[in-house]
């Protein structure tokens, strides 16, 4: 039998205070209810108008009940039953404070974003802060927009972000944890009230003496999602620290916790497993691959090195010399380590440069040109023309690039496609100009294809996929190509060019290496010998064997990288700091070792967590 609400004398309507009532529940929770001003004019005699108003209100109320609203209106999000189940659990049982500890690749990000969307649609959250490792900021921002239609502000690397007004005045912020925790900003971030805070790769907050932990603990927030596939990295106290962020006292004090659950001499081995499992089950959800039956067939990758000759070889040499002449030194560049906003501002949209005293190229311009050189000479010519304008030094390079009809990579691609017969093959290229070139290349070669570039309407996209399934062997895709569509009937993918961000490469592979794929997947990477892409590929294939990893593991490895830079920024910095190819090779070796260490750290942790949690928390 529920207690009756205690009606304090102040519960009566206070007309003087503008139709406001205050009272409190039996348990003492203060309640304030404000009535909006009434209305009278204009007046209608049309019953239908009034009925429509009432029906609108009634339908709006339906949003508050059992239906999950977050699933409606999503584009390009393939969600799985375990994710939906997780969303329901977080909403119903976890009251918006949860440690999402799914195994890698099961879509913790999707789960968190679904709950986030549900909270926003139901009006349960308005101010949201998402904290992620620097390497994942752009990935998060892109997914939030493209899949969930949610715009988040990434704090600018200017003084504006040091001011409290930015954090209190911006309702949706996506920031790297390292940026938010800095001494200049932490106070402003913690002073602002948040309805929901999401922390990705939350194992970075495992140690309560660190600024990471203290920042999260200091945040004024209603709801908190901690996302990590590896909540325990070294010892059980890390788990204790994470859960204390969520629900202080849930595992009692540290001393109690150690006494009850940690075996002496082995801080990784829990005692009283059953009791601990029960307690963890109240704040943690962990889906595993075996339980949700998401084990995928293996994937194999092969690098095809194309050797440029003649004009093409000369083109790359001249370009390299040109870019090295016009690069800025990294320390002079104000945006080293910048997050997305700032990089975008630097896009070569300004007037073209000309004359003898040319300023150094901006980072974005350099990275565009370097990426274009890894794609096709036509794309390079376009980009260089846009960036260099009338610079006389650039003109011969542009001319050579325009005159190259068929590149070494083109030959490799045609060879591959001829070998593949009627197998369905996806060919990815980053640049629109490259896609256009590939279209004419395949036309000339008599190979049937469809194009899926993201510029088509929904209907055209559906038609393209259907044609690819039934009629033609090749689909030419841009970066966004095929997103959200089922393309598992294909099992071969060719990267004609390569994004510098491994997460983007992973996204490409994920188009066909996903649930529903029953055959082995083959990935071919085409790159020009001696190029930056070749070095990158060497790093990713030989060092961390990226293409053999399980979907999602790359993100975990990159998340373990120290420092506040995105992977593309790292790659560009290496190029900018190296005056010669030998120096560049050496720098890539160092980066390779760092990646390897990050991978080893991840693998050790993964083993520990598998042993510790098993399949107990689904």
């Amino acid at each position: 039998m529920p207690n009756l609400t205690k009606l304090a004398p102040s519960a009566e309507l206070d007309m003087a205070a503008g139709l406001k009532a205050r009272w409190q529940t039996a348990g003492g929770i203060p309640i304030s209810l404000q009535a909006s001003p009434g209305f009278a004019e204009p007046v209608t005699c049309n019953v239908e108008v009034l009925r429509l108003h009432l029906e609108h209100a009634r339908l709006s109320l339906l949003r508050g009940f059992d239906e999950l609203l977050c699933l409606e209106g999503l584009t390009g999000v393939e969600h799985f039953p375990h994710q939906i189940e997780t969303v329901r659990k977080v909403l119903r049982h976890f009251r918006g404070r949860v440690l999402l500890a799914d195994e890698v690749g099961l879509g913790k990000t999707i789960e968190a974003c679904l709950v986030l969307r549900e909270f926003l649609l139901r009006g349960l959250a308005k101010r949201v802060l998402i904290l992620v490792p620097t390497a994942l900021v752009s990935q998060w921002r892109e997914e939030l927009v493209s899949k969930f239609g949610l715009e988040f502000s990434v704090p600018p690397r200017t003084r504006q972000a040091d001011r409290a007004e930015y954090w209190t005045g911006t309702d949706r912020v996506l920031s790297s944890l390292s940026f938010a925790k800095s001494q200049r900003r932490a106070a402003a971030v913690t002073a602002a009230p948040w309805d929901l805070v999401i922390v990705d790769e939350a194992h970075h907050c495992k140690n309560r003496t660190t600024r990471n932990w203290q920042l999260i603990n200091g945040l004024k927030r209603r709801h908190l999602f901690l996302l990590t596939a590896t909540p325990v990295q070294n010892n059980l106290l890390e788990l204790y620290n994470l859960l204390t962020l969520l629900e202080p006292g849930h595992l009692k004090t540290e001393t109690d916790f150690k006494r009850q659950y940690v075996r002496r001499g082995n801080p990784r081995d829990p005692r009283n497993r059953h009791r601990l499992r029960t307690l963890l089950g109240e704040v943690m959800i962990r889906n595993t691959r075996s339980l949700v039956q998401m084990d995928l067939p293996p994937r194999y990758a092969q690098t095809l090195m194309a050797q440029p000759h003649g004009d093409e070889e000369r083109l790359y040499r001249l370009l390299d010399e040109y870019l090295r002449r016009r690069r800025a030194l990294p320390q002079e560049d104000a945006v080293a380590g910048a997050e997305i906003d700032e990089i975008e501002k630097e896009d070569g949209a300004g007037p073209p440069l000309s004359g003898a005293a040319l300023p150094p190229l901006g980072r974005k311009q350099l990275s565009t040109l370097l990426s274009a050189s890894g794609s096709h000479p036509r794309s390079l010519a376009d980009s260089l023309e846009r960036v260099a304008g009338t610079d006389p030094d650039a003109a011969p390079i542009i001319e050579i690039a325009r005159n190259i009809q068929r590149s070494a990579k083109d030959e490799k691609l045609l060879e591959l496609l001829r070998q593949s017969g009627q197998d369905k093959v996806l060919v990815f290229a980053s640049f629109r100009r490259t896609l256009e070139h590939l279209q004419s290349l395949l036309d000339q070669a008599g190979i049937a294809y469809v194009t899926f570039s993201g510029a088509e309407s929904d209907r055209q996209k559906d038609e393209a996929v259907e044609t690819f399934r039934q009629l033609v062997p090749v689909m030419l895709c841009s970066e966004s190509g095929g997103e959200g569509r089922n393309l598992q009937f294909a099992n071969t993918l060719i990267n004609y060019d390569l994004p510098w961000n491994p997460m983007r490469i992973e996204q490409r592979v994920g188009r066909i290496h996903r649930i529903g794929q029953t055959r082995e997947v083959f990935i071919f990477n085409i790159c020009a010998a001696g190029s930056l892409e070749a070095r990158l590929l060497d790093l990713l294939t030989d060092k961390i064997r990226m293409f053999e990893l399980v979907v999602g593991e790359v993100g975990s490895i990159l998340g373990n990288l120290e420092g506040g830079e995105e992977f593309e920024t790292l790659v560009l910095n290496l190029w900018m700091r190296s005056a010669t190819d030998t120096e560049l090779d050496r720098s890539f070796d160092t980066l390779g070792r760092t990646l390897l260490e990050a991978q080893e750290e991840y693998l050790t942790t993964k083993q520990l967590d598998e042993a510790l949690f098993g399949e107990d928390y689904q």
């Binding site: 529920p2 609400t5 009606l7 009566e12 309507l13 007309m15 139709l19 009532a21 529940t25 039996a26 348990g27 929770i29 203060p30 309640i31 304030s32 209810l33 404000q34 009535a35 909006s36 009434g38 209305f39 009278a40 004019e41 007046v43 209608t44 005699c45 019953v47 108008v49 009034l50 429509l52 108003h53 009432l54 609108h56 209100a57 339908l59 709006s60 109320l61 339906l62 508050g64 609203l69 977050c70 699933l71 409606e72 209106g73 999503l74 584009t75 390009g76 009251r95 349960l124 004024k220 209603r222 629900e247 202080p248 006292g249 009692k252 004090t253 001393t255 309407s457 929904d458 209907r459």
Partner: protein, 341 residues
């Protein structure tokens, strides 16, 4: 989403568009339709064409009619400029004839005054039906929709059937002076109903906050006990100052967490008027002469043809409808038993 809700949404979308002058072709049971719409409607929907595709499939082209998209927000914008006050009459209702003296005697108990029925006459009374949306937000959210009908002449709340469902309803052009504002009275009447309806919600929040408080107190209490017994490394004697400082920090942290908890659970509510329906009904007015000590005053009761009964009087202090009526000494104003005390 269930088919039932989807069908309701389809009907609603069709009605809104048709009301705004569109031609809609969206047959029952189909997932998509089309509408030829005026320019301003196309602009509100965000489609740059006078023919818009209607679909219940999220992610598809056109206007997606679904609870999970911004359909309701857009529909709200389309309705925004539409009047929210309606004026009607139901003049053909049957009116009881003859004296109502006996009915008054049976319905009312006059606690402290002499009351005489002076006259019974046919008249018209305007009733105001205020529809509200009430919402409460705390750790969770609670919402409801409710209607309060008030007799604009007496201010008493009447449990009237939905006027929009009356077959006798006819349009009534408003002329002359404005009716008395019944809005504050309607809000006052809505308040206890919101409280009663949200009782389970309040209990749930009470249970949750209590559990959270207990957990925090236990945790920080244990930290305080630990601080007392913490031994420095190397077996040195604990520094009482450091211990006191540690305990102060723990107490401060507990206070901060408890304050955060209170802030998080504090319930903020709103009562938003949705629609006002002004309905003029024929009624029988019963004029009373009330004598209280030396003072006397005329009051009027109404026989309502929809509820087919005499309406209660309205307590001049709390606004409750009353049949056991006491009167004040000077003003001869009606009071309920509670307010009289």
């Amino acid at each position: 989403m269930s088919g039932g809700i989807q069908e309701e949404l389809r009907q609603f979308a069709t009605r809104v568009l048709e009301h705004r002058g569109a031609l809609v072709d969206w047959p029952v049971g189909t997932g998509a339709g089309t509408a030829v719409v005026p320019e301003e409607v196309a602009a509100a929907v965000g489609i740059d064409d006078d023919t818009i595709r209607l679909t219940d499939q999220p992610g598809g082209e056109g206007w997606c009619v679904s609870l999970g998209t911004d359909f309701l927000e857009t529909a709200g914008r389309l309705l925004e400029a539409e009047p929210r006050t309606g004026s009607f009459a139901a003049s053909r209702l049957y009116l009881k004839r003859g004296s109502l003296e006996e009915a008054v005697r049976r319905a009312f108990a006059w606690l402290n005054a002499k009351v005489v029925v002076r006259d019974t006459r046919a008249t018209h009374v305007e009733y105001h039906t205020w529809w509200f949306r009430a919402s409460l937000t705390s750790e969770d959210r609670w919402e409801t929709r409710l209607a309060v009908t008030v007799n604009s002449a007496t201010g008493v709340e009447i449990d009237l059937p939905d006027p929009l469902a009356l077959w006798e309803l006819e349009p009534r052009q408003v002329t002359g002076r404005k009716p008395p504002s019944t809005y504050p009275r309607a809000v006052a009447r809505a308040l206890p109903r919101v409280k009663a309806a949200a009782e389970d919600f309040f209990c749930r929040m009470d249970g949750r906050i209590e559990r959270d408080r207990r957990r925090l107190r236990e945790y920080y209490g244990a930290l305080l006990r630990e601080a007392d017994h913490k031994k420095p490394r190397g077996g040195a004697t604990p520094d009482p100052e450091k211990t006191a400082e540690r305990k102060r920090a723990v107490e401060l942290e507990l206070r901060r967490k408890l304050a955060e908890l209170d802030e998080r659970y504090a319930i903020a509510g709103s009562l938003q008027p949705l629609v006002l329906i002004r309905t003029v009904l024929p009624a029988m007015a019963v004029d009373l002469s009330v004598q209280r000590k030396r003072a006397s005053k005329r009051h009027t009761l109404y026989w309502n043809p929809l509820v087919r009964a005499i309406e209660p009087m309205c307590c001049g202090r709390c606004g409750n409808g009353i049949f056991s009526v006491a009167f004040t000494d000077d003003d001869v104003d009606p009071r309920c038993a509670d307010c009289r005390r």
